[in-house]
Every structure is written in C-alpha cells, then in structure tokens.
C-alpha cells in the first residue's frame, strides 16, 4: 500500500473541514432556537402571558394555549403510565424468566415496533381503535385513544432501554445470588431493579419527551377539539396537532402564536433532556463496586 505523503496542507484542510462539520451541527440547533425566538419575541414581549389563558380563538385574536398544553400533558402522562410498567415488567421477565426461544423473537418484534412510522400507528388508531372506543363512549376520537396509541409507540424503546440497563449490571451480583439460592424475584426487587432504576428512569423521561413531541398519531385519533377534558373519552387537542392543523392557513399573529407553541415544546424538551442526563450521570457514578 502506498503511503500518501500529502503535505500538511491536506491535513490542515481536513481539520478545518471536520471542525466546520461539527460547527454546522451546533449551528443547526442554534439556528432552530434562533429562528423560533426571532419570530416570537415581539409577540411574547407584548402579550406573552396571554398564551396561558384558556381560550383559543385565533380569529378573535385570543391565543390561550392552556387547554392544549393540558391536552399534550394529559395524553402523554396517561400513555407513559400505561406503557412504562408494562415495558419494565416485560423487559425483566424476558431477561430473567423467559426461555431464549421467546426472548429473541420478542425483542426482534419490539425493535420492529420501534421503527414503525407514527402515521401507521395513527392509521390503525383511526381504523380500529377509534371506532371500537366509539362503541362504548362516542365519539371515540379522544384522550384515551391518543394515550393508547402513544403507549404502543413509546413502549418499544422504554423496553429496550430497560433491557440494556439490566444487562449492564454486574454479573457478579447475579452469581452471588445464585450461590445462595436467592429467588429471581427477590433479586429483582431488592438489588437489580433499584440499581438499574436511574438508567430506566432516564429512558422513561426521554420517552415522555418523545410522547409530548409526537404529532401525527395524536392528530389522527384525538379528536382535535380545543377543550379541557372532563373524562378520558373526551376529545382533546395537543400543541403539536394544533401546529400541524393550523399552520397551513394561519397568518400574522396566529402564525406567530403557533411558533410560540413550537418554542414552548422545544423548551420542555430541553428541560426533560437535562433531567434525563442528570439521571444517567447519577447512574454511572453509582456503580462503584469492587473498590481498592
């Protein structure tokens, strides 16, 4: 193989190119935040607090997002409340109880689920779930429908993160437990799950952020009525669905209000990410076993 004796010029070019690429990535994020702020700052400074009112009537100049913020939060919280326990329980069961013949195909299936586009989940929700709920409690398109579809969407990654976290625990604990014939349930409850908890929690928080940011599936099954729901069967509208629905025909202040909701989503996402990072850092620091 011939050694390329390129002069330092090529090396320097390479270095600058690489730095530029990294800079571009950072620029992308900065650009997004900058554009959002640029579009919304005047509006926010002028009538910022109005967005936390309840009435969303763009034609009358009212841009109260409270009901939609509630919609986003409620749909996501219920989805996580449904999905997280199942994901964690199933991950623990697959790793410590299930035979390999069940574990491997199931994990493959779960990975497949993780890759299914949100529109497809939404389509199924629209075709099957909404009419089914409609039979018990019209209109069917509701908070519950949104949460059920979202739960299916966040479950795969929550499960995979839990599986990874459990797999990273020291095998030595498991061996010690075996030598004393301690039950798997006892080990899970007292040692393994608590030790993996920060990593698992970090994953759950990230999935919550993802649920908040989800657009298409909730757009298709939530009913999109701007209101505070009184029961899980009431239709709601999330912030994300709102942007998707109204961006096409919004003008002027209406459009700016939509950008404001985008900024809000971004801020919440950043906050959740910081929480998840903090949790992951505490997980990494906690495993100081086998010292000296």
């Amino acid at each position: 193989m011939s050694i390329t004796l390129s002069p330092p010029l090529a090396d320097r070019c390479l270095r600058y190119l690489l730095r530029a690429s990294a800079f571009l990535a950072a620029l992308a994020l900065g650009g997004i935040v900058a554009v959002l702020l640029w579009r919304t700052l005047p509006f926010l400074l002028e009538s910022g607090s109005a967005i936390f009112a309840s009435g969303w009537h763009p034609r009358a100049g009212e841009y109260g997002m409270a009901a939609m913020i509630a919609g986003s939060l409620l749909v996501s919280l219920l989805a996580l409340a449904l999905a997280a326990p199942v994901a964690i329980a199933l991950a623990a069961w697959l790793r410590f109880y299930a035979p390999a013949a069940i574990r491997r195909p199931t994990l493959m299936l779960v990975e497949l689920m993780a890759g299914i586009p949100s529109v497809v989940y939404g389509l199924w929700g629209l075709l099957v779930l909404v009419p089914w709920i409609n039979q018990w409690a019209p209109p069917g398109a509701s908070w519950l429908a949104g949460s059920l579809v979202l739960a299916l969407m966040v479950l795969p990654l929550a499960l995979l993160v839990t599986d990874t976290a459990l797999g990273q625990l020291p095998a030595a604990w498991w061996r010690a437990g075996h030598a004393m014939s301690l039950s798997r349930l006892g080990m899970l409850r007292r040692v393994l799950l608590p030790a993996a908890a920060p990593s698992i929690l970090s994953g759950v928080v990230l999935q919550f952020g993802r649920a908040l940011g989800e657009t298409m599936a909730v757009l298709m099954v939530c009913g999109n009525v701007v209101q505070w729901p009184h029961s899980v069967f009431d239709p709601v509208r999330t912030l994300t669905a709102n942007i998707a629905l109204e961006m096409a025909y919004a003008t002027g202040d209406h459009r700016v209000a939509l950008f404001v909701s985008g900024l809000l989503l971004m801020a919440v996402t950043a906050l959740l990410l910081a929480v998840a990072w903090r949790l992951r850092a505490s997980a990494a620091g906690g495993h100081a076993y086998a010292s000296s």
Partner: protein
C-alpha cells in the same frame, strides 16, 4: 422462593400478551384493509382522484428525491462531525460533552418544530418555497444526530492499535483517515446511513410544511413533492374513502422498513437499537 419464581414466570405472559397482541392485531388490520390494493400496478401508476385510485409511482419518486437530498447533506456533514469527534476530541472531555448535548437535543426535538424551522428558514428565508429541497434539507437536520452517533461508534470501534501503528509510521492525517480509518469503519458507517434512511422514511410532520402536498411527479428538486408518509396521512384524514389506499401505502412503507431492518441485521449480525440515547 422458587415457587414465587415459578408463579412470576407464568404471570409474565400477561405483559407479553399486552404487547404482542395489539401489535399483531394492528398488522393484521392493516393487511386486511390494504392487501387488495397491492399489485405491481400500484407501484408503477400515478395516483388518480386524489389518491383514491391508481398507484403511488409519483410518490415513490418524490420520496426518493427527498431522501437523496437528505442523505446528500446528512452523510458528509454527519461523517465529518463524527470524524471530528473521534479524531480531535477525546471522549468525556468538555467539548465532547457539549457537542453530545447539542446532538441529543437535536435528536429529541419534536418533528413539528423542525417543520416550523424548515418552513421559516428554507421555504421563506431562503426562498425555496414548498419543495423537495426544503423538505430534504429539514429532514437532513433530523437524521443528522443519528448519522453522527452511528458513524462515531463505528470510527471509535476501529482498534487503537491501528492508530498507534499509523503514528509510528508517520502517516499523514489525511492518509490515515482515507486508507485505514474509513475503510475499517465502513460497515458501521453504512449501517448509520441505512438507519438514517429508515428514520427519514418514517417522518411526516416535518414534511408537511416544507415539501408540501403535491401529488404529481416533481420536475426537479425545486418542485413540491409528497412523501409516502404524508400520503398516508392525507388519505386517512382528508380524503373520504381513502383509508383503504392509505393502508395499502402503509403496507408498502412497512415492507421497505422491514427490508431495511433485515439489511442492518445482516450487516451487523446483531440487533441494532435505533434512536436509543447515548
């Protein structure tokens, strides 16, 4: 104790069913709704009557173009950033952590927000309007973190002994990267590209305000074009009687994604987690 374990071993079937049954039902329902529309003609004809009849040929074309624009930006920039991370920045250093946070935040940003940004910056400020170019560029920003993460993993996976040998031979930076590092990491990088394709195909919201809705075949990247995922949405929500075709399109999209998943498995010979945070 082992009695307790035996009980749990059986009870664990419940969460398993809670996951597997809805998934199977979902795939079954989509198949049932959409399989009748599946045919070669479906892939080769253009849509008629707002998509209620005909096929998805123009959509496949638009989707392909959008993907091409997306990868044309995301792969070089992503690879460059990954090289930067693996060559210039030691892992765990403040610079690495800062860039890591930026990338994680980009990865966690909701799709609609990318749509808003893409609309404001690419469509309006840069004057590209509703076009494949706008859509592809906005999409490239979305897959960038994924591309960077996969490529970085691949690059860091190249054994340190090669690096030391290259230094001992006084190889130039460019030579080392070109002749040893990139070829060594090539399969991992290829996986990153495939993962990005999978992610890009699944995205919808970002394209709603950037690439637009137009059904016909695009003449160039400056034309508006409708992606497959957007088509599913439109048929399901805006076109009465369009749900059957939506399901058929969904089946096509899923077939492509499954093929991609299998390709990745083959390339890596182990399961791959798309989008798991670092």
């Amino acid at each position: 104790m082992h009695r307790r374990d035996r009980w749990i071993a059986v009870a664990g079937v419940v969460p398993w069913l809670l996951v597997v049954v809805p998934l199977v039902m979902m795939l079954g329902a989509l198949w049932q709704q959409g399989y009748q529309g599946l045919s070669l003609a479906f892939l080769l004809e253009d849509p008629r009557a707002a998509g209620r009849a005909g096929g998805i040929a123009s959509l496949l074309l638009s989707t392909g173009w959008i993907l091409a624009v997306c990868l044309a930006v995301a792969v070089p920039v992503g690879l460059g950033c990954a090289l930067y991370l693996s060559e210039e920045v030691p892992p765990g250093s403040p610079a690495a952590r800062r860039l890591g946070f930026v990338l994680d935040l980009l990865a966690a940003t909701p799709s609609v927000v990318f749509g808003l940004f893409g609309y404001q910056f690419f469509a309006i400020t840069l004057g590209l309007g509703f076009s494949i170019l706008s859509g592809g560029l906005a999409l490239s920003l979305m897959v960038l973190p994924l591309m960077i993460r996969s490529a970085e993993q691949a690059l860091r996976g190249v054994p340190g002994s090669y690096r030391r040998a290259a230094r001992a031979l006084a190889l130039s930076r460019w030579g080392w990267v070109r002749r040893v590092l990139l070829p060594g990491a090539a399969s991992g990088i290829a996986v990153g590209v495939i993962l990005s394709v999978g992610r890009a195909l699944a995205e919808t919201a970002v394209l709603l305000f950037t690439a637009g809705y137009v059904l016909r075949r695009p003449d160039s990247v400056f034309d508006s074009g409708r992606a497959l995922s957007v088509h599913i949405y439109d048929l399901a929500m805006n076109v009465p009687g369009g749900t059957a075709r939506a399901a058929t399109t969904a089946l096509v999209l899923m077939a492509v994604l499954i093929a991609i998943n299998l390709l990745i498995r083959r390339a890596l010979r182990r399961p791959v987690l798309a989008g798991v945070p670092r």
